[in-house]
Amino acid sequence: MVRSRHMPKHFAPVLAATLALLFISVAASLMFGARSLTPQEVLDGLMMRDPGSYEASVLQKRVIRTLFGLICGAALGTAGVLLQAVTRNPLADPSILGINMGAALFVVCGIAFFQISSAHQFIWLALAGALLTAVFVFGIGSAGRGGATPLKLVLAGAATSAALTSLVTAVMIPRAFVMNHFRYWQVGSVGAGTWESLLLLLPFFLAGLAAAVMTAPALNAMAFGDEAASGLGVKTGTMRMAAAFAGVILCGATTAVAGPIAFVGLLATHVIRMILGADNRFLIPMSALAGAVILTASDVIGRLIARPGELEVGIVTAFVGAPLLIILAMKAKVRSL
C-alpha cells in the first residue's frame, strides 16, 4: 500500500482508536452516575420509547452533560495545540498559563459586584479576562534575555494563576452561600451544563476551531522559524495573532460555561503529538477529539469514584494531567528550560 505523502504514519488506526474511545466514553457517560442505567434503558431513552419515565429524564440530563463535556474537551484540546504552537512551548496549556483562572475571576467578579446573572454576559466577561491574562502572562514570561522560554512562561503562568485563584476565593468567601452552586468557577465542572450554555458555547467553539484549522498550515511553516515562514509567504504576525486569539477564545468561552478545567489541552496535545508527529493540520482535529475523550472520561471517573456525590471534572483532570507536566519537566533539557 502506498502511503499518502501528506498523511502521518499511523493516521487511520489512530483515528479509529480515538473514535472508538470516544464512543466508549460517551456510552459510559450516558450509563454511569448516581443512578446507573443499563444499555437497554439508555437505548430506550434515546429512542424516546417512554418519554415520561424517570430513566428518560435522567438520560436527558446526561445527554446534555455529555455533549457539553465533548465540546468543552474539544475546545480545550484545540486551545492547547494553538497555544503550544504560538508560544513554541511544549508546556503551554490554558490552565498552566493561568488563562482559565483569569476568565473565572472576571466571571466571579461580574456576579459578585455587578449582579450579572445571564450566561450571555458571562461569556464576554470571561473572554475579556482570558485575553487580559494571556497578554499579561506572556508579557511577564517574555521579559528579559532569551524571550519567552518554557520555564519563564510556565512560572509566570503559575504565579499568575495562584494570584487569581486566591482572588477568586477572596471574592467568593463572603458570599459562600450565594456562590455555593457556582463553585465550579473554582474547580471546573460540566455538571452544570444546560442547552442554553451549550448553544452559547457552540458559535465560539466553531469559530475557534475554524480559525485553528485555517492557521494550521501557517503554524507548520512557522515551526521552522519566522524567517523561513516569511520566505514561504506566510504572514507570520497576522497568523500568530489569529491563532493566539482563537486559542484564547476557545479556552475563555469554555471557562465561562464550565469553569477553569486544568491540563486537558496539555494532555490531549502531547498524547497525539507523540503518536502522530507535529503536523498541525492533523494535530488540531485529533487533539480536539482527544480532548473530548479525556474530558468525558474524566467526568465519568469523577462521577464513579465519589458516588453518590460527584467530583468536579477539573479536579480529576488535574490529578491525571499533573503527572504529564512532571514527566515533561523531567525530560526537558536544562538549557531549554
Binding site: 511577564i140 521579559a143 528579559g144 532569551g146 459562600a176 455555593n180 490529578f319 525530560k331
Partner: protein, 343 residues
C-alpha cells in the same frame, strides 16, 4: 594601608552586627505587639489588664472564654506556625540559593496537607498519628521531588516545575478527600488548600511548640555552615563544612517543622516564600537571618489574620490574605529574575 583596610572590614562587621541586632529586636517587639493585639481584639475588646489577669489564671467574667479558648490558641498557632514557615522557607531558599525554592512553591507543604486531611477525614485518626503522617508525607514529597527533579543535571527550574505538578496532584487529592468526607464547604477547603487559623485547638499546640524549640536551635547552629554553603558547594567543602550532612539535617529539620505547622493550620500560603527575602532586606546579608526570617513569618501570619478578621466586612482566613500579598511579589520576583537572565 593594610591597617586601614582591616579597620574598614572591622567597622563594617560591627555595623552589620548592630543592624542585625536592632532589626531582630524590632521584629521581636513587633511580633509581641501583634500577639497582644490578637489576644485583646475581637468582638469585645479587652484591656491589657484583663488579658494578663486571664493568662495568670485569675477569673475574669466574660473575658475568660474569649481570651483563653478562642484567642489564645489562635495567637499561638499564628506565632509558632508563622515562625516555622518563615524559618523553614529561609533554610530552603538559602540552601538552594533561589528565592523560588521553598516548601510552599515546590509543593512540600501541600503534600503534608494532603496527608493530614487523609488522616483526619478518612482514618479519623488522633492527633499524634496526624502529625506523624504529615511529617512523613513532607519528607517523602521532598525526596520524591529531589529524585524527579535531578534528571540528567539538577536545576531549580526543573524542581519548581515538578513541584507545580505535585502541588496540583495533592490539591486535587485534598478536594477528593473532602468530598467523600462530606466536608466539601469553602471554609474547610480554604483551610487545607490555603491555610487558616480558624478552629485551631489549644491541645494541638504543644507538639508544634516543642518542635520549634528543639529544631530552631539545631537549624541556628547549622546556619553558620549554611552561610558558608551560600558560597557554593565546592567553596564550602574546601572550607571544611561537611556539606552532605549539613544539607540533610537542615532539610529534614525544615521539612519536619513546616509539616507539623501544616498539620495544624494548613499550608498558609506565601509565608515561607516571603519571610526570607523580607528578613534579608531588613537585617542585611552576611549573618544568618534564620531567626529574623522566623519572626517575619510569625508577624506576617499574625498581621494577616488580624487583617482578615477586622479589616473587611467579611472575615477572611489568614492564608487568603498572605496569598494576596505573596502572589504579586512572586510576579515581581519573576520579572526581576528574567531581567537579570537568571533562568
Amino acid at each position: 594601608m593594610n591597617a586601614y583596610a582591616i579597620e574598614i572590614v572591622r567597622h563594617g562587621r560591627i555595623r552589620r552586627r548592630r543592624r542585625w541586632a536592632a532589626v531582630t529586636a524590632a521584629l521581636i517587639l513587633l511580633t509581641l505587639a501583634l500577639c497582644s493585639a490578637m489576644l485583646m481584639l475581637g468582638n469585645t475588646i479587652y484591656p491589657v489588664r484583663d488579658v494578663i489577669a486571664v493568662l495568670m489564671g485569675e477569673e475574669v467574667k466574660g473575658a475568660e472564654f474569649a481570651v483563653k479558648t478562642v484567642r489564645l490558641p489562635r495567637m499561638l498557632a499564628g506565632l509558632f506556625a508563622g515562625f516555622s514557615f518563615g524559618a523553614a522557607g529561609y533554610v530552603f531558599q538559602t540552601m538552594l540559593r533561589n528565592p523560588l525554592a521553598n516548601p510552599n512553591v515546590i509543593g512540600i507543604t501541600s503534600g503534608s496537607s494532603a496527608a493530614a486531611v487523609f488522616c483526619i477525614i478518612v482514618l479519623s485518626s488522633g492527633r499524634s498519628a496526624t502529625f506523624a503522617a504529615s511529617v512523613v508525607a513532607g519528607l517523602m514529597t521532598a525526596l520524591l521531588l529531589y529524585a524527579l527533579a535531578r534528571g540528567r543535571s539538577f536545576s531549580i527550574g526543573r524542581m519548581v516545575l515538578v513541584g507545580i505538578g505535585i502541588q496540583a496532584m495533592s490539591n486535587s487529592f485534598i478536594s477528593y478527600l473532602m468530598l467523600i468526607g462530606g466536608e466539601h464547604q469553602i471554609p474547610a477547603a480554604v483551610r487545607w488548600l490555603t491555610g487558616s487559623l480558624n478552629g485551631v485547638k489549644l491541645a494541638d499546640m504543644p507538639v508544634l511548640v516543642f518542635a520549634c524549640l528543639i529544631l530552631t536551635p539545631v537549624m541556628a547552629m547549622l546556619s553558620r555552615a549554611l552561610s558558608t554553603l551560600e558560597l557554593g558547594e565546592q567553596a564550602a567543602a574546601s572550607l571544611g563544612v561537611p556539606t552532605d550532612r549539613v544539607r540533610v539535617t537542615l532539610v529534614v529539620s525544615a521539612v519536619v517543622l513546616s509539616a507539623i505547622a501544616t498539620a495544624i493550620t494548613g499550608p498558609i500560603a506565601s509565608v515561607a516564600f516571603l519571610s526570607g527575602p523580607i528578613a534579608s532586606r531588613l537585617a542585611g546579608i552576611g549573618r544568618s537571618n534564620l531567626i529574623p526570617a522566623g519572626l517575619v513569618g510569625a508577624s506576617l501570619v499574625l498581621a494577616a489574620d488580624l487583617t482578615g478578621q477586622f479589616a473587611f466586612s467579611a472575615k477572611f482566613p489568614a492564608g487568603i490574605v498572605t496569598a494576596l500579598i505573596g502572589a504579586p511579589y512572586l510576579l515581581y520576583l519573576l520579572v526581576r529574575m528574567n531581567r537579570r537572565g537568571e533562568f
